[in-house]
């Protein structure tokens, strides 16, 4: 029994289609169209074409900053593209429509194929054709002995060569390679499995980002994250409780003489994990995430968080904490913001630059020449006025809104900016207080993910590859052997049949003939 295929498959007989007469007929007609090879092919090609715009236009999920840039640079074009969902191509209506249709077409094709294949697994190989000499690899060889005995030995040989065997009177029919169809179906079902895993994964997974400074801890609770995205079925209780403390972060760089730029060689964060009251030391590196209680912790970024202390004129601390400076270039020139809402005569905001290896350039400006902290310098432009923190609107901690503030040091204030080496202090203008650069802890930024569908998707993917390889390299073959009496005596005829590409069929039939010759100890003529 042939494997079932859509009616426009190259292996199927060409039957001229008639236009249907009634509603049910039209329904069948459209279903047949949807599950046809041609439709599947066109949907595949459409899917490839539809995926292209997502690589030309930044995507909200992959490159949110790129999207913001497009909106800023050309708001009109942005609105047009956004209305076409070009910034969310892979969740857009049109992209989804294509792959959902493709998968309906696929399921509509493989379900009937599966039931057909299950039946064919129970069906014996087809009857021997009348004229074997028309088939491929046709050979004859003389055999002695009674017909039943010969047929039994033939069946035995085919059986050993993993053929399914059935004896019909004076001939034996064998078929092999059912695995091809099985594997092909496994591949396609696994593909559906991967898609379902991806679809359900969005509901159950969560991911969050957190900046951790040396000496500080992170606890896996919703409130601890700097940012957090989660699927519909994730709630507060889905987060397994544990705490991670960053003991030390080490970065190793090498100076590249040719390019004049640093080469990063190694990043390693030493962490202490505390779970159920038990502490253990962990090493976190790029490409080597920590797997903790079903979550994975990834090292994504790092930088410096100079410890800044601000005191009022009486010497009382009004601000004393590490300030995260975000790296801007390979030499870790970084930008950070300190906001002091209370304790001084006015609200003070400071926008700072940090240079781990500071040098003075010819223009007189500071620059960093290497990412290691060999000559760490922090500079601050100082603003006073309204920090905008009182209205209860959430503000970006890395950004200072200076609309309602006036600059008192740096920029065009006429007062030079504060420039501090490690351990140094400097007075704020107008007798506001003093700023000190106390020490230089480092920070890391980590991503924490949980995706419970990873395992099923992984299994589906393994089945997908196994199915693909098996289905492409196993061939389905039929072989028939008939015992006939000729003028020269009793001979067996051997011939094979294959569908599709099977250039090895002739050789395979030859192998069988040779094996037959061996067991019947006769000479092969071909």
């Amino acid at each position: 029994v042939e494997p079932k295929r859509p009616s426009d498959h190259g292996d199927m007989p060409d039957v001229p289609s008639q236009l249907p007469l009634d509603a049910a007929g039209w329904g069948r007609f459209f279903w047949r169209q949807l599950t046809s090879m041609r439709t599947a092919l066109i949907l595949l090609l459409l899917l490839a074409v539809a995926a292209i715009p997502g690589s030309l236009v930044p995507q909200r999920t992959a490159d949110p900053n790129g999207v913001i840039r497009w909106r800023r640079d050309d708001p009109e074009l942005f609105d047009l593209l956004d209305s076409l969902q070009l910034f969310d191509v892979y969740t857009s209506v049109w992209f989804s429509a294509i792959y959902i249709l493709l998968f309906i077409s696929l399921v509509g094709c493989i379900i009937p194929r599966t039931s057909h294949h299950l039946k064919s697994l129970k069906t014996p190989p087809p009857r021997t054709p009348k004229n074997l000499s028309r088939l491929e690899g046709y050979r004859t060889l003389p055999v002695a002995g009674d017909r039943e005995g010969v047929l039994a030995r033939v069946a035995d040989v085919l059986h050993k060569k993993r053929f399914r065997v059935k004896t019909y009177g004076d001939s034996v029919a064998g078929e092999t390679g059912y695995l091809r169809e099985t594997a092909n179906l496994v591949f396609h079902f696994a593909l559906v499995g991967v898609l379902l895993g991806l679809a359900f994964g969005t509901g159950f997974k969560y991911s969050g980002q957190k900046v951790i400074i040396e000496g500080q801890s992170f606890t896996n609770q919703l409130a601890s994250y700097d940012s957090f995205t989660a699927g519909t079925f994730v709630n507060e209780t889905s987060l397994t409780p544990y705490a991670l403390r960053l003991e030390q972060f080490e970065a190793v760089y090498e100076f590249d003489r040719n390019s004049g730029l640093p080469n990063a060689l190694d990043f390693e964060a030493t962490m202490t994990l505390n779970r159920h009251g038990v502490s253990s030391e962990k090493s976190l590196k790029v490409n080597r995430p920590l797997d903790i209680a079903g979550t994975s912790v990834y090292l994504l970024g790092n930088g410096f968080a100079p410890w800044i202390t601000v005191t009022d004129p009486t010497g009382r601390d009004v601000f004393s904490q590490p300030v995260v400076f975000l790296p801007q270039d390979v030499n870790l020139t970084s930008v950070g913001v300190a906001k002091i809402p209370d304790g001084l005569a006015e609200q003070v905001g400071m926008v700072g630059f940090f240079y781990p290896s500071a040098v003075i350039t010819q223009s007189g400006a500071l620059a960093s020449v290497f990412p290691d902290p060999t000559q760490p310098i922090v500079t601050f432009n100082v603003f006073t006025g309204d920090l905008g923190l009182n209205e209860g609107i959430p503000r970006n901690v890395y950004d200072l809104d200076t609309d309602d503030m006036s600059v008192v040091a740096g920029q065009d204030s006429g007062v030079p900016p504060l420039v501090l080496g490690i351990g140094q202090s400097q007075e704020l203008p107008n007798g506001l207080g003093t700023v000190t650069f106390e020490s230089l802890p480092r920070f890391i930024s980590v991503d924490i993910h949980r995706d419970p569908t990873q395992v099923p998707v992984g299994i589906a993917t393994a089945l997908l590859i196994a199915g693909l390889v098996t289905s492409l390299f196993v061939v389905r073959r039929r072989v028939w052997v008939r015992v006939v009496d000729t003028a020269e005596g009793q001979v067996v005829e051997v011939a094979g049949l294959s569908r599709g590409d099977d250039p090895g069929l002739d050789a395979a039939v030859g192998d069988i003939a040779e094996a037959l010759a061996k067991v019947t100890s006769s000479k092969l003529s071909s």
């Binding site: 295929r5 041609r38 995507q59 000499s133 491929e136 990834y298 990873q454 993917t461 590409d501």
Partner: protein, 319 residues
């Protein structure tokens, strides 16, 4: 030491380009020879085959994949020989580059180009044991001279240590298998080009030019290209999956529609379409050959334009 080895490697790359050019010249002379005249041997060979057929118990029609085509001239043998020499030098260049960097020689665009072209020629030379693909020598030599030239002139970078982002076992697997897939797609593309040319001329009333009659039939070329593309597709599937596993380890998600992921997906879908096209009535032949060529075009696009002009997480070109 690193710089000395890298310099030797670069010298070997230039030598390789010279030798491949020589191979290209000989291979072209072979093609010219083929179009000159039908080799006197051919009819005799066919006749001999007929005789054999008469002797055989079964008289069967020669089936297509073994259909006869003329063997190449002396020039072809020389071209292949020169190609082998070039490949040995090419191999040495690649190994030296790896030793210079103390790592696998495919960690940036230049090195990927070096390894991928090595694999194209290597797979081609290996395929000669399987089938007589001598007529492809000009394509293989020409393509690789061009590719090596473009890669060396435009993408050459000094040997630098691996950044933490690339320090992974998946660099070894994911990138190597990607270049292997590229090699199979590249060879298949050459066969598809010959197939398209041949089937176009076969359809003409004026008949097929002599050069083309010395090649296998269009459908044999199609079937050879199909089998190479299928192997390429398996490797590409593995590339995609290994890339997803690496992405999970490095970035915390196995699929995020990064530009490189998008193009890897597009290529996979195109070749999935190609495989289906071969089984769809009305799509066999030239249409599926065009699909295969579009697929290989996308592979080249993914390597060149996507790496250089698009911004994404795969910023490993070193440029």
């Amino acid at each position: 030491v690193t710089e000395t080895l890298a310099t030797y490697s670069l010298i070997a790359v230039y030598a390789t380009m010279g030798i491949y050019t020589l191979a290209f010249i000989f291979a072209t002379m072979d093609l010219a020879k083929r179009s000159e005249a039908i080799p006197a041997k051919l009819p005799a060979a066919v006749a001999a085959d007929r005789d054999l057929g008469a002797v055989a118990v079964s008289e069967r029609e020669p089936h297509e994949p073994t259909a006869h085509h003329a063997p190449g001239s002396m020039f072809q043998k020389i071209a292949i020989g020169v190609l082998v020499v070039g490949w040995v030098v090419h191999f040495a260049a690649t190994i030296l580059r790896g030793i210079a960097g103390n790592r696998v020689p495919w960690a940036n665009m230049f090195e990927f180009g070096l390894t991928a072209t090595l694999l194209i020629v290597g797979v081609y030379l290996g395929s000669l044991f399987w089938r007589d693909l001598g007529y492809l020598a000009a394509y293989v030599a020409g393509f690789n001279v061009l590719a090596l030239g473009i890669v060396t002139v435009n993408f050459y970078v000094d040997v630098v240590p691996l950044p933490p982002a690339l320090q992974s076992v998946w660099l070894v697997l994911h990138v190597f298998v990607a270049s292997l897939a590229t090699a199979f797609f590249g060879l298949a593309a050459g066969l598809s080009v010959f197939q398209l040319v041949r089937s176009r001329f076969d359809a003409r009333a004026a008949g097929t030019p002599r050069l083309l009659t010395t090649l296998p039939t269009a459908s044999t070329l199609e079937s050879l290209a199909f089998r190479l593309n299928v192997i390429g597709f398996v490797f590409w599937t593995f590339t995609l999956v290994a890339g997803a596993i690496w992405a999970e380890r490095a970035w915390g998600r196995y699929w995020g529609w990064d530009v490189k992921e998008v193009w890897t997906f597009i290529i996979w879908v195109i070749f999935a379409g190609y495989i289906h096209a071969r089984a769809t009535r009305g799509w066999r032949g030239s249409r599926s050959a065009w699909l295969g060529l579009i697929g290989f075009g996308a592979v080249l696009f993914n390597y060149s334009v996507v790496n250089i002009a698009f911004t994404g997480l795969h910023s490993y070109s070193g440029l």
